[in-house]
Symmetry: C2
Subunit: 183 residues, 2 copies
């Protein structure tokens, strides 16, 4: 454990806050740590009865690229991850999940950030009217889970929550089905 | 695509830089985007002939938690991901990889950051003398891949690259072995 000596606020924005911490290492040495605080987010792997995933393609300004990702969203303050997952899945792709199975929960980049991502498998999907936010420009894409896993292997799907979600959903399905082939 | 109008530098540190960008959305609306730039990193899943992974447990100041993670490291400027992977695997856990198989390459948090993580399966491991950096306090832990996957399911392994790496390595092995059980 590192003892926090002093925190200096560099920036507090709508999405992230940046802080410069003075901490004491276990060997008593003082060091500086750059810390990015974030309110957390959810990602959903919507898997339908035909074995297809529904994903979204969007431009990500920070990366300079269009990325194919599972539906996701930032947690509102005080909102539970499950409520957020159901809300965002309807808003982004017009699917209401009858069942949410937690696949994982992870820090996206623990070396400098506290952002936590709650990852769900979304099943028993019911169509609803999508309601993307005004400034979201999303293209919805549906593809078989096997194809998505192949796209991960070809490095065409390049988002942490989407890679983890596709891999864990593939393992979940292989285990459940007891099938010999998993990809 | 969003057109960049102006970038304001908020902070440039050793690990991250923070910028406030004015961008034009496709609908012509100007918006502000918080951007965290990072030089990229590598993560390695070292899988030995006994089917065990070698991981490291360390305190992550930004998260306030001790996390169990696969060995990883930041890319030095101009360094190839493969060289970095081999170097960091020796430094952190004393294993030299005879073979590196690229499992994935992803943005850890594309909503606000350009950090890319290059993920490898490391095989044909040869023991070497570890040389952790002075300020790294790592505890090395070795466990069967199946146990690691179970720890992901119990939400005990909570790091994006580690979750993705364990899941993809499990799929890789299940496919290669043609085994019925994958977890």
């Amino acid at each position: 454990m590192h003892e926090l000596i002093e925190r200096k606020t560099i920036f507090e924005g709508h999405v992230v806050g940046l802080y410069l911490d003075q901490v004491l290492l276990p060997n008593g040495k003082p060091v500086e740590r750059e810390v990015v605080l974030h309110g957390g987010a959810v990602g959903m792997v919507p898997l339908d009865t035909e074995g297809c995933l529904t994903m979204v393609r969007q431009y990500r300004h920070a990366t300079g690229e269009y990325l194919l990702e599972i539906p996701a969203g930032k947690l509102d303050e005080g909102e539970s991850p499950e409520s957020c997952a159901a809300r965002e899945l309807i808003e982004e792709v017009g699917l209401a999940p009858g069942r949410l199975i937690k696949l994982s929960e992870f820090y996206t980049s623990p070396g400098f950030s506290n952002e936590v991502l709650h990852l769900y498998l979304a099943l028993d999907l019911e169509p609803r009217e999508a309601a993307p936010e005004e400034d979201e420009f999303l293209e919805v894409e549906r593809m078989p889970l096997e194809e998505a896993l192949e796209a991960v292997g070809r490095l065409e799907i390049r988002d942490s929550k989407t890679v983890a979600g596709i891999a864990l959903a593939s393992l979940w399905r292989a285990t459940r089905d007891g099938r010999k082939e998993v990809r």
